[in-house]
Structure formats: structure tokens, C-alpha cells
């Protein structure tokens, strides 16, 4: 349940996971963030909220998503691989689990206007969808570079009635879109709710988004029980941009140390090339977008512009829960390059008939290196489908536009 708590990795009252998290926000955002903090747990615990949330997930989103035994992939890697099919959600990724939860919250808060940031466009599409469903105005900020490389999703958002605003500053990617969304919220504090798309941002966002995404591991447990007669796999693999699909896939296994949790970051052209988004490899603790976390930054504390072929992983930070999982050693953080991800995406397409999102392809690529044994069970969170990435797959590992 989204109200369940982990014993060891729950957020503290002040919003911390270990030393990470908190709410470093300008005073302009304080009333909204504080209000949200003071009501979110009560609201999501209300039976009427749960009823509405779970029935929309079932009838509108299409949950539970299958836990699919990938036979040909398993034969190839000589282990037992299950794919958690978040790509089969309505709108094609895990992002909608969170936007449905947050839109229900926003309605209960009396908000009439929704803003969001998006990288790959999946969160933008999921937000635009939820807004159309609820009849709320929707504005999505998206880096100008990402608008170029994720065109199909821009058009989907527009089709759904959302306004897509290009973020022109900085690297013109996800971080800059987030800055613009925060500026919008500062400017429109009364009527607007900001639906953050990952487990980032000031407390309570990381915990709130984790709870909405935790439906993923809740289902994995029930599905493994049925298919394998066990409650937990040996490994869970997920890609990490901000870390929402990983947080959801890990959540109900956090306290079970027999389950190895593997978070896969975007290595870009290679961790040490200067073109990478591998936050734990390259970052150190710092504050961005309201929370203390690992952050790619210069010695002087300026945020370094990340690089990844995948727009959804092209972010210089990670959610504070992941910073804590990394620092405490509970999860292992690995990185996969652009080229490795491209190969893995194409390989899954040919082997299983599933075209994965480029983000997800990073998690799949790690199967090459995992070395799981024949009898072991590996769950890969298939966070999204790759329709939006066809152009990039087809053109090969070409450079993204310079700016």
C-alpha cells in the first residue's frame, strides 16, 4: 500500500533520508510546500483517496502491469529474468502512477492549474493526461534540447491540451526545465500545484512520489508469489534519472537485505569523458531543487551540465532517497554508456519484441555485467516504451544537437 513504511529507509519528520533531503526552498515556496507537507500523509491515507487512486490505476492506467518472464532474454543471459512491464501503462511509462496520485491530491487542495517539468516528455505526457482527465489547466516546462530530441511526446502533450514551454537557460534540459517550473510556482503560488515528476525536490516530494510509485514493488511481490512461489527476487534493476521508477521498484524490498538493488545511471559517453550524467560516480553532496543530495558540481558549487543520450536520465542530481541508498551501501550504483544502452535497446527489441525507452535500456544493458546465476531471479523494471526514441535508435549513436 502507498501508506506502508519501510523500517530503515523511511523519511524522517524533517524530511531526511540519512543526511540527505530536507527542504531548501525560498520563502516564496514555503506556504505551498509546508501545506503539502502537513496534509499529504493524511490525504493519501483517506479511504476515499485510496479508492479513487487504485481504481484509476486499475481502470484507466491498466494496472497491475504484467510481470513478464522473458524467456529468450533469460536463455541468453543464463538466468531468470522478469520484466516489470511499466511500458504497458497508459501513456507508456511508470510516470503516470505519480501523476494520478498527485492530481488527486491537487484536487483536494483546491488547485486549478498544474505545472510540471519534463525531460523525456513521459512525465509531461502523463501530467497532461491526468489534467485532461480532471479538466485542469496544464503547463509543462521542457528543455529546448529535449523538445528537439523527444518530438513525439511534445506533440502528444499538445494534443492533450497542455501548453509546452521551452526552457532556454543552461543546458536546456531537465534541470533547466525544473528551474523554470519552480519559477512559475513562485509566481503563481495560490492556484497552482507543481507535479514534480521524480523523487526529487523539497520534502515532501521525494516521499510522496516514492509512495505513489511503490505500487510497482507491491505488485512485483504478489506476482512473484504467484509465478515463483517466493516473495522476493535476488536482484532488482532499474535506471535512475531522478530515481522514481527505481524508488518504486525497490521500495517494498528496502528492508530485505537478501534482495540486491541495482540502480543504473547514465554514463553518457563514459564516466570520465566530461559528457556523463553518472551522478553518484561524479557528484558530491550539495543542494539542488530543494534537497541535499549527490550533485554533479564544480569545486565552487556550480552545477555541472550533465550529458546523456537519454533525456530522462540527463539530470545532475538524484533523489535524496537514492543518495542515502548509495551512501549507506543498501543499493549498488552502476553506470551504462550511451552506446551500451543503444545496443541493449535494440537487443531487447529483437529478442523479446519489446522496444524499450532509452532510459530503460540503461537498466537492460546492465544485464551484460550482472553475472546472475542460473537459478537466480532478476527483475528489471521496464520503466517505459521506446516509441519516443525511435529516431535516436535509428540514427544510431549520433551526437545530440549542440547549443
Amino acid at each position: 500500500m502507498i501508506t506502508a513504511t519501510s523500517q530503515n529507509f523511511n523519511v524522517s519528520d524533517l524530511g531526511y533520508y540519512g543526511q540527505f533531503g530536507g527542504a531548501y526552498i525560498p520563502e516564496m515556496l514555503y506556504p505551498n510546500v509546508e501545506h503539502l507537507r502537513s496534509v499529504y500523509l493524511d490525504i493519501i491515507a483517506e479511504p476515499s483517496f485510496q479508492e479513487e487512486f487504485y481504481s484509476l490505476l486499475r481502470d484507466y492506467v491498466g494496472r497491475p502491469t504484467p510481470l513478464y518472464y522473458a524467456k529468450r532474454l533469460s536463455d541468453f543471459y543464463k538466468t531468470k529474468i522478469y520484466l516489470k512491464r511499466e511500458d504497458l501503462n497508459h501513456t507508456g511509462a511508470h510516470k503516470i502512477n505519480n501523476t494520478i496520485g498527485q492530481i488527486l491530491l491537487a484536487k483536494r487542495l483546491g488547485k486549478t492549474r498544474i505545472i510540471a517539468e519534463t525531460g523525456a516528455g513521459q512525465h509531461g505526457v502523463a501530467t497532461a493526461t491526468a489534467c485532461a482527465l480532471m479538466g485542469l489547466e496544464c503547463v509543462v516546462y521542457m528543455g529546448a534540447v529535449d523538445i528537439e530530441r523527444q518530438k513525439p511526446n511534445v506533440e502528444r502533450m499538445q494534443m492533450l491540451g497542455a501548453k509546452v514551454v521551452p526552457a532556454m537557460s543552461g543546458s536546456q534540459t531537465l534541470k533547466d526545465a525544473t528551474n523554470e517550473a519552480m519559477r512559475d510556482w513562485i509566481t503563481n503560488p495560490t492556484d497552482t500545484h507543481y507535479i514534480i515528476g521524480s523523487v526529487v525536490g523539497p520534502h515532501p516530494y521525494p516521499d510522496m512520489v516514492t509512495r505513489f510509485q511503490s505500487v510497482i514493488s507491491e505488485e512485483i511481490i504478489a506476482q512473484l508469489r504467484e509465478k515463483e512461489g517466493c516473495e522476493a527476487p535476488d536482484y532488482v534493476l532499474a535506471c535512475v534519472g531522478g530515481g522514481s521508477n527505481a524508488a518504486g521498484a525497490f521500495y517494498h524490498f528496502l528492508d530485505n537485505n537478501d534482495v540486491q538493488l541495482i540502480a543504473v545511471e547514465a554514463g553518457g559517453k563514459g564516466v570520465n569523458t566530461g559528457f556523463s550524467a553518472a551522478t553518484t560516480a561524479l557528484g558530491k553532496p550539495g543542494v539542488l531543487h530543494g534537497s541535499m543530495t549527490y550533485l554533479m558540481q564544480t569545486q565552487d558549487g556550480q552545477v555541472v551540465e550533465p550529458f546523456s543520450i537519454s533525456a530522462g536520465l540527463d539530470y545532475p542530481g538524484i533523489g535524496p532517497i537514492h543518495a542515502h541508498l548509495f551512501a549507506s551501501g543498501r543499493a549498488r550504483f552502476e553506470s551504462i554508456t550511451d552506446d551500451e544502452a543503444m545496443i541493449a535497446g535494440k537487443f531487447l527489441s529483437r529478442t523479446e519484441g519489446i522496444i524499450p525507452a532509452l532510459e530503460t535500456a540503461h537498466a537492460l544493458a546492465y544485464l551484460e555485467k550482472l553475472g546472475a546465476k542460473q537459478h537466480e531471479i532478476v527483475v528489471v523494471n521496464l520503466s517505459g516504451r521506446g516509441d519516443k526514441d525511435l529516431q535516436t535508435y535509428i540514427e544510431g549513436a549520433q551526437e545530440r544537437p549542440h547549443h
Binding site: 530536507g22 527542504a23 531548501y24 526552498i25 525560498p26 520563502e27 516564496m28 514555503y30 506556504p31 537557460s169 543552461g170 534541470k175 528551474n179 519552480m182 519559477r183 513562485i186 509566481t187 503563481n188 503560488p189 495560490t190 550539495g286 543542494v287 539542488l288 531543487h289 530543494g290 550533485l295 558540481q297 569545486q299 565552487d300 558549487g301 556550480q302 552545477v303
Partner: protein, 261 residues
């Protein structure tokens, strides 16, 4: 009494504070901008520490910060530039100086070392827009107190009376009243809502002087703000005025006199 408190004791009305970005328009302009501002009659200068992701700032200040970072500005360099700023044989700037910057560069520099450097070079106060009062009290207040550096906190039209009072008890030097919902660089329009907010602030009988900032761009908006507070802060309009300057002292004199006369 530090320089900020002394200023408000001597001049409780029409206090003019100017925001400039360190290292803008050119890396080494910082000191000459401070000198020109003092000579032209500015009462306080807020020196912005540039940051890559300034979420509370509008385009003008974002861009000036981008230029300053491109020029190579860092906190280390800024403190080097400010060494000697108070010496009568050197820069000889005597008006209160306040550093304004986002928390991350200060954290990476080290909060204690930052406060120590402020005290050493003669910086009187600091404004950190993304450091809320609770976090400040819990984690950083002791360092500020140890070195006698004022932390100047913000309130906004959405801040409740109760919270304004709480912030007022922690804030030192003055209270920074953000004029309206929005980032820096929007132009203030005096309307009924604005008046009600400023009147509400005045009625709270706060212990700190109040300076109104965000959207103060010219004489009209400065005078409007001064009717309700001890003074006002001009940022984006000043940055715009000096961005392409060929003669900083003259352009700065011109800008300040357009506000004061």
C-alpha cells in the same frame, strides 16, 4: 552595532539598497561598482554571488550571473577582491555590504569559513534565498553568530503574520520583504493587494527595519515602497543599466540620481 544597524539608526527612511552581481559586467568590476555606488549615494550594496541555477531570479539577474560565471567569478575570487574594501588607503568603501547568494556555493565553500571571510573583509550581512529560517536556525545560526554576520531573511505576501513575526526574531540587520509573488525582475505595480500587504507588515511592529525588494525599478516604485518601509532594493533595473556600460562611474551616478532626485 554593525554598519547596517548604524545606518538605520541614522537614516530610518528612504534607504536605497542596490543589488549588483559580483564579477559583472567584467570580472574585476566588483570594487569599482561598489565605489561608484557609494559615491553616488546608495546606502547599502547587495553583492550577488552568481549561481548556475538561481530559481528565485528572473532573466536579467540569471543572465548577469551567467556572464559573471563565464568571467570566472567564484567565492574565492570574490573574497580576494573584497580584501581591503574597507581600507581607507585602498578601496575605502564604508557603506554596509551584504552578500546575496544561493546555498550550494556557500556550502561547498564551507559555511563557517564563509562567515569568517565575511567578517574578515568587512561584509556585514548575508541573504540566502533558498535557506529557510528553520534550516538556518538548526544548522547554521551558530556560525553566523560566532562571526557576527547578519543573516537577512525574506518574507513574502504569502507569509502568515505568525511566521513573519518568527522570521523577524531570527533575521538580523533588516527584514527583506519580497513585494509580490514572482521572481526578481518583474515590475511592481502598486495595487490594493500590495498596499494591504505593506500596511499589514507595518502594523506588525517588527523589530527589524523593513526593506522592500523585487520589482523596484525606478523612482516611482522606489518612492511607493518607501511610503511603507524603511527603504527599498533595486536589482534587475540596475543590472540592465550597467550591462553594456562603457563608463561605469558615470552610468552608475546617472542611475542613482534618477532614483533619488
Amino acid at each position: 552595532m554593525n554598519r547596517i544597524e548604524r545606518l538605520f539608526a541614522q537614516k530610518p527612511h528612504n534607504v536605497l539598497s542596490i543589488y549588483c552581481t559580483a564579477g559583472f559586467p567584467h570580472l574585476d568590476d566588483t570594487i569599482s561598482v561598489l565605489q561608484a555606488l557609494e559615491h553616488s549615494g546608495a546606502d547599502i550594496v547587495e553583492i550577488g554571488i552568481p549561481f548556475s541555477d538561481p530559481v528565485a531570479d528572473g532573466q536579467t539577474i540569471q543572465q548577469s550571473g551567467g556572464v559573471a560565471l563565464h568571467n570566472g567569478m567564484t567565492l574565492d575570487i570574490l573574497f580576494q577582491q573584497l580584501r581591503g574594501v574597507r581600507d581607507s588607503s585602498h578601496a575605502n568603501v564604508q557603506i554596509p555590504l551584504v552578500l546575496m547568494g544561493y546555498i550550494n556555493p556557500i556550502l561547498q565553500f564551507g559555511v563557517r569559513k564563509f562567515c569568517q571571510c565575511c567578517a574578515e573583509v568587512g561584509v556585514d550581512g548575508v541573504i540566502v534565498p533558498d535557506l529557510p529560517v528553520e534550516l538556518y536556525e538548526r544548522e547554521y545560526l551558530s556560525a553566523f553568530q560566532e562571526y557576527g554576520v547578519c543573516n537577512i531573511l525574506l518574507v513574502t505576501p504569502q507569509t502568515s503574520d505568525e511566521r513573519i513575526k518568527r522570521i523577524d526574531t531570527v533575521s538580523k540587520g533588516f527584514l527583506y520583504a519580497v513585494s509580490s509573488a514572482g521572481t526578481t525582475g518583474n515590475v511592481l505595480s502598486m495595487d490594493a493587494e500590495r498596499e494591504a500587504y505593506f500596511t499589514r507588515l507595518a502594523a506588525l511592529k517588527l523589530q527589524n527595519p523593513v526593506m522592500i525588494g523585487f520589482g523596484i525599478a525606478d523612482k516611482t516604485s522606489f518612492d511607493d515602497a518607501c511610503r511603507f518601509a524603511n527603504g527599498a532594493i533595486i536589482g534587475s533595473a540596475f543590472i540592465k543599466a550597467i550591462g553594456k556600460s562603457q563608463n561605469l562611474p558615470s552610468d552608475i551616478r546617472h542611475f542613482i540620481s534618477s532614483i533619488k532626485n
